[in-house]
């Protein structure tokens, strides 16, 4: 599914002009007259980015940003505003906005940002899929295999694991082979990377280190 630009601005004329500009540059644009309208229409699976006017009646841009983050929607946001001030832009950027553009802005810059946002969105979506895959695989591990995986990620050798779990070296090797298979990892490094990305072991280790 190709990414779309979700354009939210209460000023009809401006919204129409921007949509026209973006479309003439080849973007797929959907426009909304208010944040509420956008929230009604938007489905999380729709990729793209949000071009958001800061000042609007009803939900403002910043409030929409908060709302989306609260809902766990990671759609990248580019703020546009007629007149911005520093505190609001800082707040927007802290909230994870890609950029904060003041009207009238250079269209090339906006398009660069949109493309950047698309890329970011695509990357996030890919990561999320990866994470979901890893999670699905982790579901398949037994309890003992989970323990072994945790120790592996922490960098213990087979021998040390066998000692810690008070099992034979051989048993550890069997568990490890099974984990590699279930997690569809080609190497130990791949396994550790997947586990760390998902938050296994690292958290445990930090607990050890600082707890």
């Amino acid at each position: 599914m190709s990414p779309q630009v979700f354009l939210v601005d209460d000023d009809d004329a401006y919204r129409r002009s921007l949509r026209f500009l973006l479309e003439s540059s080849g973007f797929n644009v959907r426009d909304f007259a208010s944040a509420e309208a956008f929230l009604r229409e938007y489905r999380e699976e729709l990729p793209g980015c949000l071009v958001l006017d800061l000042r609007m009646p009803g939900l403002s841009g910043i409030e929409l940003q908060d709302q989306l983050r609260h809902d766990g929607v990671e759609l990248p946001i580019i703020f546009i505003t007629g007149h911005g001030d520093v505190p609001v832009s800082v707040q927007a950027m802290k909230g994870g906005a890609i950029d904060f553009l003041e009207k009238p802005f250079d269209d090339a810059q906006l398009m660069d940002r949109i493309r950047e946002a698309f890329a970011l969105d695509a990357r996030r979506r890919a990561e999320r899929e990866e994470r979901e895959r890893v999670a699905a695989r982790l579901q398949r591990l037994t309890r003992r295999e989970n323990e072994v995986l945790a120790l592996l990620v922490q960098g213990y050798s087979n021998k040390e694991i066998a000692e810690k779990l008070d099992v034979s070296h051989r048993t550890v090797e069997v568990h490890r082979a099974r984990i590699m298979h279930k997690m569809e990892a080609g190497s130990l490094a791949e396994l550790v990377q997947a586990a760390v990305r998902f938050g296994i072991g690292g958290k445990d280790e930090s607990t050890h280190s600082f707890g």
């Binding site: 209460d10 401006y14 129409r16 002009s17 921007l18 000042r55 007629g82 009238p104 802005f105 269209d107």
Partner: protein, 692 residues
Amino acid sequence: MFPSGLDGAGMQRASGSRWMGRTGPMALAYSVVFIGVVAALLTWQAQERLHGFSAVQRELAAGAVSGAVSQIGVRVSELNRSVRILAVEEAPRLRRLASGAGDAGDLAALRRRVQAFFPEVFAFTLVDGFGDILIDSGHDLVGDVCRLDIADFVLHGHQQVLRLHPHPLGSHFDVMVPVPGRPGAQELVFFISLSPESLTRVLADAQPPGHRLVLVTEGAGGQAVVDVSAQSWRAAEEPVEIIPAAQWVRALYQAPVPGTAWILADLPEAGLFEEERERVWSETAVLMVGVVLAAGLMMVWSWRTERRRMSAERLLRDSHATLSAVVEAMADGVYLKDRAGHYRLVNEAYARSLGRSRSALLGRTDMEVLDPETAERNRSVEHWVMRSGRVDMREEPADGDRTVLGTRAPVYNDAGQVAGVVGVRQDVTELKQAEEVLRRHQLELAHVDRLSIIGELATGLAHELNQPLGAVVNYAKASLKLVRQGTPDRQRLEQVLEETVNQAMRGSEIVRKTREFVRKGQPHFVCTDLEELVRQAAGFAASELRARKVSMEIVATEVGIQVRCDRIQLEQVLLNLIFNALEAMEEAQLVPRRLRLTITRSGRNACILVADSGPGLDRAQCARVFEPFYTTRREGTGMGLAICRTIVEAHGGHIDVQCRGELGGAVFEVSLPLEETCDEEMPRESTGLSGR
């Protein structure tokens, strides 16, 4: 017609003289003269009465005396005749007795005859021609006096003079007659002594009351000796009653009694005149006292009346003098004209303002002292004032670029008819200049206020302006792209360019309105649809409202409510009120935030209500909210509402506040005079003081 003395000359006269102090002494003098005249009259009348009295008494006395004299005369002649008859009848016997031939019987017979003739006989005597006594009735009466009388009688040819003879046994008088006989016979004189009792009776009968009739003989030294009076006659033993000459002159009347030595006199009783005088004078005195009292009362009464009149007069004069002084002291010109336009009163300031003397104005009309144009204008205004009975105030040009406020009011006479016009000319040049300065300052202040409003609106305005600008840029870039692609969709391109123009116009409109709003210039009053104006002002604040998440509604209860106003100033008022509402709601952190602008009509006023959903105002805030420099906001200057009030009042309206209104917060109400004749030309300024 006019209040007395209200002409210039009269005023001076009244204020210059003080004749009123003389009235008292004058009245006193009049009274004294009056009393004097009355006293003289009364005295004269008393004298007259006394004179009359004394004349009456004199007449009475004369009558009494004359009467008595004649009665006594009659009596005497009767006696005389009786004695003569007796003497004739008894002559033989008398001669007999005289010759000594008679006897005791003759004497007794004689005695009986005499007593029969004269009941009051005292004695009778017969003497010879030499005075020798021949017969004495026995009383031994004959003394020296008798002898003198007898001698007188004989010598003077039997002419008897009646006189009283005092005698120890009683006074008496003698009636003498010769005894007739043959010629050559011895001369005999017979006389009868009579008691004066009958004379006393005559006097008593004739004597009027208060008078005393006396028979007197002349004594030595001009003194009168009373012989017989109504009460008594002189007896030998009695002391002689002597009337001294000084007293004698008081005799009212006296007349000699013929045939006697007596004078019959009327002596008034001692108290007669004194009593009368006393009576008259006491009556006069009573009258006098009465007159003096009456005069005194009259004087007191007239003095009090006079005093009242004088104090009233003084009051009048004082108030008049005060009024004159006030009128004179006024720096403003004051004049009074009658119906025909003649000056009846002018003060110095007025005369000076026309460059003329007072006397050159009094009695003249404007036609005679002013240029025809001004005079005609004055006359027409005065006619209007007198006809309508209303007061006219207008500004009029004066010499040297000065401005005068002329006030004219009708003057009424006692009958309530218009008698003329009173006018005051006040030089208001400095006032006007001060007003102008104040007006300029207010304009400056209002301008500063507008600048600060624009400052507050800056963010919103920038946003507002960037929308069309951004749109223009977007359209232009898109057009560029289309053109660069080589084969632009012509229809699309036209559409885009049209949009571009629209947005550019939109942007310039915002700039124009903003510039207009901060424009510094003279107010320009035009007929304005209030709803349209409210919508425009609200439009200014629209982005600000969005930013603050305030929902606004504009309600007009009827269409076409119009006022005459300076649009900018009225928008400024509305923006101030809107900002106040926004601030109030912002600080109170209440949601939802609502703002309602209502355009309505209330009687002859058009009203704009600005209501918010803020916390409202407490009583103290409510009371002070229009004061300059009063603010509840941290950053407010406190001038906004004060300026609003100045602006609204300059529009002939007023601004008011309800502490808590329809939406829970304060409601500000701007009332302006409704304009119903928008199509007409602006009416001419009648007073010019509003100036705006």
